[in-house]
Amino acid sequence: MLPASASQLLNPTDVGREFLRLLPIALFVIVFGIAFGLASVQAGLTDWQAILMSVTVFAGASQFATLELWGQHVSLLPLVAVVFAINARHILMGAALYPMLRELPAGRRYGILFLLTDANWAVASQDYQNGRQNLSVILGGGLVLWLAWVAGTVFGVTFGGLVANPEQYGLDMVLGCFLLSMVLGGKRSPRVLLIWTVAGLSAVAAYWWLPPHTHVIVGALAGGVLGYCWKERRHGG
């Protein structure tokens, strides 16, 4: 395999195309930003604090989860533990991109990771499984998702009542359905299906019996370990 040069991996045309590719998903993200803005004001944050959080943290699930912890006083350790546990999946997601990212100079390599989130990573990861190196989606897709998240939060703190109940319209399932469609769009061999089964069962077991927010890491590592132990026949290994 020829090493792709940095300019092939990230050029403005591709970044723009990937920005537009994730625009439909970003429109749904706006709705969630609105829901977050509304919820954070109800939890006692000011408008600017909620917006600052969306701008700098840019990780919806962890932002929602910590809202329950805000009050007159905030316990720092549980707060940091929840944020870390929910976002620890980024560690594995970043590691999975490493074979592509190592081709970039360090500044760009770590720079685009500021925008790493589930949706743009899922696209990059599935493109890679299908033989295409696509880091432009991390930057372009990440940018449109970040803009949508921030814009949604701004709307939410201002006119949150408009979307008080996104579940009613099925909008809470956007990310789940999107991620599922990315998985199913990838390679499906008996080996992969068994890895998915083990990952899914481990995740559910962790969800039931291990501390909260650990299930993604447990499922991902279980699938990864099985993949490590079980060599693919076609590539000889």
Binding site: Q49, G170, G176, W196, V225
Partner: protein
């Protein structure tokens, strides 16, 4: 350690959350820069990559309501039949909204 939520403290806590999150975004790549990518490591990464998504979605179905399960089922069905994400996601959302409308009515 409990901190009183003065305006300054809130900003400091938000910045702390941002730094923890940023550490997770950069940490995996930083750690991998010390690992030689042998075939075993590559198999681990590839299997883990799709397992992350499965580990997010499957508990969502198990712990979710009928609408959530129907949505993921519809997305799976359309994805296997048509193979394109947008129709699959649309089917999922419409199904979730319909099931919740019917159950709630």
């Amino acid at each position: 350690m409990a901190v009183e939520t003065t305006p300054f403290a809130v900003i400091a806590i938000i910045i702390l959350m941002a730094l923890v999150t940023l550490a997770t975004r950069l940490g995996g790549v930083f750690a991998m820069s010390f690992v030689r990518i042998r075939p075993g490591v590559e198999r681990f990464i590839n299997a883990m990559a799709s397992s992350v998504l499965i580990a997010v979605v499957v508990p969502m179905a198990v712990s979710g309501d009928a609408g959530a399960r129907a949505a993921l089922g519809a997305t799976t069905a359309v994805m296997l039949l048509v193979g394109r994400p947008m129709p699959a996601i649309t089917a999922g959302l419409v199904t979730a909204a319909s099931v919740r409308y019917l159950v709630g009515a």
